[in-house]
């Protein structure tokens, strides 16, 4: 035992390599390997007659990807992801702020528990629960009618595109469920970001004459921005790739995740499914480089 530990002491690089072997193998082979296989697949094509994948380099799958019907799917998904992300920032921020700044230690633990608790139960169960909540005969409509607010939901559902016969069959419903399901992923990084800001920085700002609103925009916001970006990476990419929520709640117009599922499963068009998966990856890469350019990570 003693000689083994002194061996590792002498050859520290070797022990580091041994330590990293498993994660490197996992990341290199399983993760990066499958990603590059995916990327390679997207440059193959499907033979229309035989239904076989032709393993030759071609851009025809990408031409297919940019057909109007598929662009429609991409546009719908990206818009939903954007709206969900913005709404989660707006809803999550006050709660995260309370958790990080205002609450007493006991209340803070309780709030963390409440935010995390939904993650302990199955996500599919929660999505179906929302379908019932949002249904025409569901609890939400019952509640609204008791408050004499039915006109509000009727008015919303009467709107073009986002409306529908009931909340559970409209994009509004899809949006609400996305917002609910991903909210913890936005709250936690924002709260963590806020907790990292030393209290003295805000005192310094007010000491130098900054009123609370100015201190917020000049000090708190830039410093918590990496946390907001981290949260939005979750909400944005999770919405881009999800295939369950729009299938359960919504007006059955497809999202990217559903198309990927259909193409690689039922349709057997793995190249097109792969090309579809590349879309969220490219969008996320663009988003991150934009965030970097705007200085979102300078405070890290």
């Amino acid at each position: 035992m003693r000689s083994l530990s002194s061996f590792f002491y002498r050859y520290q690089r070797l022990s580091l390599l041994l330590l990293l072997a498993l994660p490197l193998l996992w990341l290199g082979v399983i993760y990066l390997g499958s990603l590059s296989a995916l990327l390679a697949q997207s440059f193959f094509s499907l033979d229309g007659f035989t239904g076989q994948v032709v393993k030759e380099f071609t851009l025809s799958t990408y031409t297919q990807l940019f057909s109007p019907a598929n662009l429609d799917v991409i546009g719908r998904t990206v818009t939903m992801a954007l709206v969900v992300t913005l709404a989660s920032i707006i809803v999550a921020f006050p709660l995260a702020y309370t958790m990080a700044r205002a609450a007493s230690p006991a209340l803070r633990s309780l709030l963390y528990l409440l935010v995390l608790m939904p993650l302990w139960s199955s996500y599919v169960v929660r999505v179906y629960a929302w379908k019932l909540i949002l249904a025409k005969e569901g609890v939400l409509n019952w509640f609204l009618s008791k408050l004499h607010l039915s006109w509000l939901s009727d008015g919303l559902l009467g709107l073009p595109v986002i409306g529908g016969p009931s909340l559970s069959l409209s994009f509004i419903g899809t949006f609400l469920v996305f917002l609910y399901i991903w909210l913890p992923y936005m709250i936690l990084p924002i709260a963590a970001g806020l907790e990292r800001i030393p209290k003295s920085l805000l005192e310094a700002s007010s000491d130098l004459g900054g009123k609370p609103a100015l201190s917020f925009w000049r000090v708190t916001f830039p410093l918590v921005l990496p946390g907001i970006v981290a949260g939005s990476i979750f909400t944005f990419s999770l919405t881009l790739g999800d295939y369950i929520i729009p299938g359960v709640v919504g007006n059955s117009q497809p999202f990217i995740g559903q198309v990927v599922l259909i193409q690689q499963g039922t349709a057997g068009n793995i190249p097109l499914a792969a090309a579809f998966t590349v879309v969220p990856m490219v969008i996320m890469a663009l988003y991150l480089s934009l965030a970097r350019k705007l200085g979102a990570f300078e405070a890290l």
Binding site: P198, S200, L201, E203, A204, S205, S206, D207, L208, G209, G210, K211, L214, R218, V219, P222, L223, G295, E298, A299
Partner: protein, 341 residues
């Protein structure tokens, strides 16, 4: 020097059941270098935060330039703070940090940058404006914090243990610089420290805090030479406290008295000079400290005394006394300082 800069009238501040500041009153004059000295938890930082407006008084009145400020928020007080952790904005350059207060006052960019450059020059950081705080050393950050607080020309500068994080040499250098700067800009400095030497060397007046109260408020010399309480005698410098029968025997008075270690002579023979107090004891231990030697002497019928003797003779490589030696202690009667009973 006659106008009041900051005045506390019976100010109280409680945290839960703890009286952080307990009926504190004082009056800081304009352009004065005023120090709150005390151990941690003595209420000195809370007092500073009450002046800045980060804390609110539960009772009592706080005046800044003779104006009652109890309900005025920090951003409307003409007071700037140098924070203990410097509190520099990590996402801004040094120049933007310094110009922050001017930006809030809506001073146009070229002008505020020029003023910020001048402030950086004043703290000898010319040319570092484009760096980020993270790229600076502790001493440089401290200067940026100082420049940022001074650039807006406040009436009062509050400094919360600003030199605490610096090493000894740099701290001594900054003490001199701070004092010079204060004379140069001519504004009130209110300085919080637990370092008695720092307080003695820089201040016009010192308020010694203990348990949320001011034990003594006076000029540095008076604080050191004529401590009012045994706490002040023990906290500011080292003191030997002599009480009870021995006090009466030696001084002829019943009240306890203190005697500074450096005022005591250690001799083999009994000192025969007139007007000296003499007492005998046994050497308990001897600690060589370079500039001086600290000896602890157990009095025959009294406490363990601390004696500081200057090491004036460079040839004496071995100590004059050893553990267990019998010695005589003596001091001039005028050096005894009687405490309030």
């Amino acid at each position: 020097m006659t106008n009041s800069s900051v005045r506390f009238e019976n100010v109280n501040r409680h945290f839960g059941g703890i009286k952080a500041v307990d009926k504190v009153s004082f009056d800081v004059k304009e352009a004065e270098f005023f120090t709150f000295l005390g151990p941690s938890g003595s209420g000195k930082t809370t007092c500073l935060r009450l002046i800045a407006g980060f804390e609110q008084a539960d009772k009592g009145q706080i005046f800044i330039s003779d104006k009652l400020v109890n309900s005025i928020p920090p951003y409307d007080r003409d007071v700037h703070t140098v924070f203990q952790d410097y509190a520099l904005f990590p996402h801004m350059t040094v120049l933007d940090n310094v110009a922050y207060g001017l930006m809030i006052k809506k001073i146009p960019k070229p002008q505020r940058h020029k003023q910020a450059e001048q402030a950086l020059e004043m703290v000898r950081l010319t040319g570092l404006g484009n760096r980020r705080p993270a790229q600076l050393s502790g001493g440089q950050r401290q200067r940026v914090a100082l420049a940022r607080a001074l650039v807006g020309r406040p009436k009062i500068l509050l400094l919360d243990e600003p030199l605490g994080a610096l090493d000894l040499k740099l701290r001594e250098q900054m003490q001199v610089e701070l004092k010079e700067l204060q004379t140069q800009v001519g504004i009130t400095f209110i300085y919080v420290t637990h370092d008695q030497e720092e307080a003695l060397s820089m201040s016009d007046r010192i308020a010694v805090f203990n348990h949320g109260k001011i034990e003594q408020l006076d000029h540095p010399r008076v604080i050191y030479e004529q401590p009012k309480t045994s706490f002040v005698a023990g906290f500011v410098g080292t003191s030997n406290l002599i009480e009870g029968q021995l006090a009466q025997k030696l001084s002829g008075q019943t009240s306890p008295f203190t005697i500074r270690p450096e005022r005591i002579r250690l001799t083999q023979e009994i000192d025969t000079a007139p007007q000296t107090i003499k007492v005998a004891g046994t050497v308990h231990d001897i600690i060589y400290l370079g500039m001086y030697t600290r000896s602890h002497i157990q009095l025959d019928d009294g406490p363990l005394m601390t004696v500081h003797s200057q090491n004036l003779d460079s040839n004496s490589s071995s100590p004059k006394f050893h553990k267990g030696d019998r010695v005589n202690l003596s001091w001039a009667a005028e050096h005894m300082h009687h405490l309030e009973p």
